[in-house]
Every structure is written in C-alpha cells, then in structure tokens.
C-alpha cells in the first residue's frame, strides 16, 4: 500500500475523530484538551499539503495561544466550590438557563440542515476543475518585482496589501472591543502578583531569550522562506503571556499611550506606506518602487510583528485576568 496515502488516511481519521469527540464529549475539559490536539493534527495536515507557512502559524496558534485562552477561560468558568467536578463542567446548561435543552425535533432539523449543506458543498467541490493554476503563474511572473523572494510574503505585503492592512485593522478592533467588554482603559490594573513558584520563573527566564531569538529569526526568514510577520508576532505574543504568567509585568507595565502606539503600529505603518506611495509623482497608490519595496516591506513587517504580538497577548491577558467585582 502506498505510504503517503496511508499517512493521509491516518491523519484524516485522527482529525475527524478528534473533532467529533471535541464537539460530542460530555466533559468540557476533555473538549478543551482535544482542541489543542486538533491544532496539532491540523498543522501536520498543513505540512502534508506543502503549506509550511500555515504550519508555522498553526503551530504557534494551536499549540500555544488557543490552548492558553481556552484552558484559562475554562478555569475561570469552573465554580470555585466544585473545582474538579466533572459533572458540573459538563453539558449543564448553566450559561443559558433560559432556553430549553434541544429536543429531538431540534436535533433532527439541525441534522437535516447540516446534512444537506454538506452535500451541497461536496457537489460544489466535485465540480471544481481537476487542474488549474489559479494565480500561481501570475505571482511567480511578478515575484522579482515585489522586493522579496518568498511568494507568500510577496502576496501578503505587496500584491494583496489591502487584505493584510484590513486584517491588522481587525486586530485593533478586537483589542479595543475587548477593553470595552472588560471595562478597562488599559492593562495597567492587571499587573500580575509575585508568583512564589521558583521553578516557573526560572523556566521562563531560560525560555525568554530563546523566544526573542526565534522571533527575530522568523522575521528574517520571511524574506526568502516560510516565516514572516504573522508567525513572529504569534511567538512574541506567547512570550509576553508566559512572562505575565510567571509574575513579570510584561505588557501590563506599558503606559496607555505606549500601549496604544504598539497596538496601531502595524496599521499605521501600512497607512503611511499608502500615503507616501499615493503622493509619489509617477506611482499609483500602493505601487512600490522596485528599489524601495524590500525596505518598505521590512519596515511594515517589523511594525506588524509588534502589533500582532501586543494585540494577541493583550487579548489573552484581558480575557484571563481577574474578573472585577
């Protein structure tokens, strides 16, 4: 039997099994833990499908950030008096006691809806042409004019500049709206207490320099190989969260102005690039001159890394920080 096919079958079986149990298991903690392994299997799938950029991002997001967010929220929701109670954390409809538990008719209706939708999607996919280059050729033809050597980075920061720009806008919006939800003006009230855990502090002190090194390495790599601002930003966020967990001030010591500056750095840098190119005489807006595009992309990438790191770590710290009473 073909080994690659065997690998595919195992991987898909694992993915489906994990997501089925993730949604079906009665124990919520089990679902949370399974979600972490879901990220792991997904990133194996990205490697298999030759998308190493995505695998890097998924490794950082799935193994690191998503786990922190979900486990932390789970711990926050767990009632204090029954910390280990499997039954309480289970399907008990504590969060929405007003609506009734779904009846058989509800389930049947949902099943029919989902079944027909999956069938329709399947038909649509089967209808796709078996071959087709998409935009690959176009990207490779214009690659030497883009200022970088790695096609995915070129698409992100040159050819489809708007997407990335708006994406950073979404990040800023998420950070600001989470501030509203938590009733805060900035993060300074969320200073961590001194943790007496020597082991944890030592571990984090050891890991931090390596993480900084990895952030810089990934950023440098984005120019010519899989890597870049997104992956570096996520690792930066993980580092800031880990520092905060071990009792260091991390980003909670930033003043409001400084924090906001980090928040919008990426978005503002892209806006700046747009304004400059628009006011350049013989260029159209967002058209980079060839000799400058490498430098412009690097500046944007550094700013975007900072923004992504600060926004994601603020999201985690804000949603895990103590509930105000």
């Amino acid at each position: 039997m073909n080994l690659t096919l065997l690998f595919d079958v195992f991987l898909i079986a694992a993915l489906l099994l994990v997501s089925w149990r993730l949604l079906g298991a009665s124990d919520l903690f089990q679902a949370t833990v399974l979600f972490i392994s879901f990220g792991l299997f997904l990133s194996l799938a990205w490697i298999r499908l030759q998308a190493p950029d995505i695998a890097l991002a998924e490794a950082a997001v799935g193994a690191g950030l998503a786990g922190v967010l979900l486990l932390g929220t789970f711990k926050g929701l767990e009632p204090e008096e029954d910390r280990e109670g499997e039954n309480l954390s289970s399907e008990a409809c504590r969060l929405d006691p007003i609506s009734p538990c779904p009846g058989r008719a509800h389930l049947l209706l949902a099943f029919t809806f989902v079944g027909s939708m999956t069938a329709l999607l399947l038909l649509a996919v089967l209808d796709l042409p078996a071959e087709g280059d998409g935009l690959t050729l176009l990207v490779f033809q214009s690659l030497d004019r883009s200022g970088v050597e790695h096609p995915v980075t070129a698409v992100l920061l040159n050819f489809r500049f708007y997407d990335t720009w708006l994406e950073l806008g979404v990040l800023v919006a998420a950070a600001l709206s989470i501030l509203c939800v938590r009733n805060r003006l900035d993060l300074r009230e969320l200073r961590p207490s001194k943790v007496p855990d020597v082991m944890l502090r030592r571990l984090v002190m050891g890991l931090t320099p390596i993480m900084i090194l990895v952030v810089v390495y990934l950023l440098w790599l984005g120019d010519h190989a899989p890597g870049g601002a997104f992956q570096a930003g996520v690792v930066l966020a993980a580092m800031l969260i880990l520092l905060w967990f071990s009792g260091h001030a991390s980003i909670t010591s930033l003043s409001r102005i400084l924090w906001l500056f980090c928040l919008i750095a990426g978005f503002a840098m892209m806006l700046l690039a747009a304004v400059i190119t628009a006011s350049w005489p013989e260029m159209r807006p967002l058209e980079f001159a060839e000799e400058w595009s490498g430098a412009i992309i690097l500046a944007i990438e550094v700013a975007a890394t900072l923004s992504i790191g600060v926004v994601l770590s603020s999201l985690a710290i804000l949603s895990l920080g103590a509930v105000e009473d």
Partner: protein, 89 residues
C-alpha cells in the same frame, strides 16, 4: 530512505491515535493533559521525519515552535482558577 522515514511517521501517527483513548477516558484532568503532552512530542518527531522525507527544511522550524510553546497551555492550567493576576495560588 524517504520511504522508511515516512513509514516510521505513519507508525507514530498510529500510536497517537491509540493514545487518544487516554484523552477520551481520563479520568483526571491531569491524565488528559499528559496525553496531549505526549502527542506534542510525538508530533515533533513526526515533523522531523517528514522534514527529512519531503526534504523541506522549514518543517523543522515548525517543530521548533512546537517544543518552544509546549509549556504555555500547561502553565495556564496549573495557575489558580479564575483569579489570575490578583490572588496567590
């Protein structure tokens, strides 16, 4: 040799699927987390083997990220419930 590496990777993937049983049955929260920790290490091994089999060096960076960030979820788990940042454990 590529075939061999791929075969070992398949075998490791199969052990991961078997190991999922421990996540399903528990019974303690720690058991489930330890099982996921084993998945993490197995996943790193698979990534390294695939890097060799597909001859893609960037896969090793993904493995590096996995090992680097493995502690994060567990640290979130062992901190005290609901009071991160203000109370002691």
């Amino acid at each position: 040799m590529e075939k061999f590496y791929l075969g070992v990777a398949c075998f490791l993937l199969a052990t991961m699927i078997v190991g999922l049983v421990r996540v399903f049955v528990g019974p303690d929260q720690e058991d489930r987390l330890v099982a996921v920790q084993l998945f993490g290490t197995t996943g790193v091994a698979i990534l390294l083997l695939l890097a060799e089999a597909f001859d893609a060096s960037s896969v090793r960076n993904a493995a590096l990220l996995f090992t680097l960030l493995a502690v994060l979820a567990v640290v979130a788990f062992v901190r005290s419930p609901g009071s991160l940042g203000e109370r002691e454990e």
